[in-house]
Assembly symmetry: none
Amino acid sequence: MNAEILCIGDELLIGQVVNTNASWLAEQCSSIGIRIRRITVVGDSLEDAGDALTQAWCHNHILITTGGLGPTHDDVTREIVTSFFSTPLREDPVVLSDIERFLADRGRVLSPANRDQAMVPVSAHVIRNSQGTAPGYHFNHEGKHCFVLPGVPYEMKSMAELYMLPLLRTLQPAPYTSRTLLTTGIPESTLADILSGVEMLLPATSVAYLPGTHGVRIRLTSRAANDDARSEEMAALERFILERAGEYVYGSDDDDLARIVGDLLAAKQLTLAVAESCTGGLVSDRITNIPGSSCFFERGMIVYSNRSKTELLGVDAGLIQQHGAVSREVAEAMAAGCRERSGASIGLATTGIAGPTGGSAGKPVGTVWIALDSGSHQVSHCFHFGSHRMNTKQRTAQAALDLLRRHLLDLPAIPSFCTEAS
Amino acid sequence: MNAEILCIGDELLIGQVVNTNASWLAEQCSSIGIRIRRITVVGDSLEDAGDALTQAWCHNHILITTGGLGPTHDDVTREIVTSFFSTPLREDPVVLSDIERFLADRGRVLSPANRDQAMVPVSAHVIRNSQGTAPGYHFNHEGKHCFVLPGVPYEMKSMAELYMLPLLRTLQPAPYTSRTLLTTGIPESTLADILSGVEMLLPATSVAYLPGTHGVRIRLTSRAANDDARSEEMAALERFILERAGEYVYGSDDDDLARIVGDLLAAKQLTLAVAESCTGGLVSDRITNIPGSSCFFERGMIVYSNRSKTELLGVDAGLIQQHGAVSREVAEAMAAGCRERSGASIGLATTGIAGPTGGSAGKPVGTVWIALDSGSHQVSHCFHFGSHRMNTKQRTAQAALDLLRRHLLDLPAIPSFCTEAS
């Protein structure tokens, strides 16, 4: 069953926006066995978008469009689909009340432009939008399906997850099984060396490495003939990987390391306080992205100035003077002070030179110290993350969360490949 | 002069890779006046990629392909273009020596697959690749241009920058000028109402609204015949918008609100301390993304627990008891305590219910209070950001930075459309 994704929006054609909608939809569809044969991007033009829609409908069983459903004059998608499917519009009372409620919740009143968004194609099933004012449409004509979704990513994803993907799953048995193992703290080439031979293990499987600032993802795919065979193959691959590189694997698929450590803290009824210098709030931000994090996250202190390190954490000013703010001694004092002053079970601290300036010969830009203190247990580790400020913040936050994961799971604080290599 | 970008690669159709090549090429081409009419993505299939190439060549003056030039069996692009342009292959000695040198520098020897990459289409001009082994091709047929580039982003960019873009600049004077104004604090439909008529102001201009969690971007485009006319038209559009909605416009193009307020703080030699509850570190994270932020950012305190609000900010426990942690009174006490205790010039505080739980009838999920205290000046404002946790964090952080921007620019703290509407 073939599909095309048609993205509509001038912002995509001038490169103002990277098309993450297409890759997300492609990944979702692929994972349930729908083959995307083409992704097309056109502008907010009746002619270009209309032509692309006609072609895509002609060559595929499933067509998914994104974008062009907003309340303003440059939004052309509704006009294109109503014309293509030859259907008039009607005002939908459920959509109208959805829009009114959405606006009322935000203290806003219904404008004529918003009211017009409740006008939907008569021959379409409406896909309700809980995150915005634009409804989506589902046309089921000639045994084919056309899903019309908005371009705002979180609106599109919510509507795809609640309506479109469950429906597509009923159409299509999955012809392959895929799973991604998430690793952190080990470079791609070292990981590939440790796992060498995994790609030859079974004939119907494949293994791909995808590096990023949060670590290397390992994508496993089995195309064996049936569900049971695929499950067996995937389990064999996972066993192979976990035996050789288990300490680096923190989760799978959409897991987030912050959520993993949050679950561990909650299960052990421990609380956490964080002291951040170079990460500037990113560690706390990631932890507080987790619903329910207030149960285990006591507080965070972003101690950018030396004064704040002393006032908020009790770090001795002389220690900073002697060793510098980016040092094992200060990192450890930050973690200890943060734990003691907050009353939390564990203190976690980051201090480093994010750049682009502030480096020296002994401590180049990208030097980072991370420390953890649980009262009975102290550990600290130095990293070198290079000269890109945002990458260094992201890598440091991930490494800090991983130090916490290793502590909570009684794994070695320092990755084994570091100690084995030296 | 119209162009199409054709990206070839299975990894794009299964969503494993986000298509940043297309957005980068689109941005580069747009900036030199080449209009991208379509972006097409197809898999590593002779049939699908061949069909897409034929269509794209037929409808455009310029065609740019990426991907499918590697040394392995799944790379089909060379076969497709040699067949389409009916040209045999020849071994190119310069390309061969480029490949040999590239491999030698990395301690590798020439494999048969690499040697085959030196076989290039006779009728194409070769585009040399200093970053990898795959050469690109440039076909100039029937007054049209086809550029064939590899899919690895840094190889593609290097070849585009050194060869393709300079050549395209000679073909094409820029036929349009585009600029994006960034607004925040006003919904798309209200903004469109206030600016109604802007799209009719001048015949050769267009205006598009692009909403997101950071606000609504307004993209202005002029296609007037010459540079002077375009500059005049853009200036007229901007004047129209700034007269009616100037207070909501915080910047343009790639500006970030955190950088805008950082520059204002630095220029006024003011320092900032932040107390975050519902944003959980996101405000501080955004501010510390700015290189040099240590000059004006004193500290941040993420006061997730009531205890930490009292201990770190001196918020009276009785006040929290009486009004709740999400209230005007507590937000104001947080901002004041944060300023006083840190010694910073300005204290900025957020407290709200990010959800998904914790709401009540009087204070539904998404209720947020933001407060600012400069010693001589206190202001606070309530927002309703809906039930999506991550969106609420992002919208709150943006609104807090905007409250600070409004304070630093002596603008009204409460957006005018709110006070006018009520």
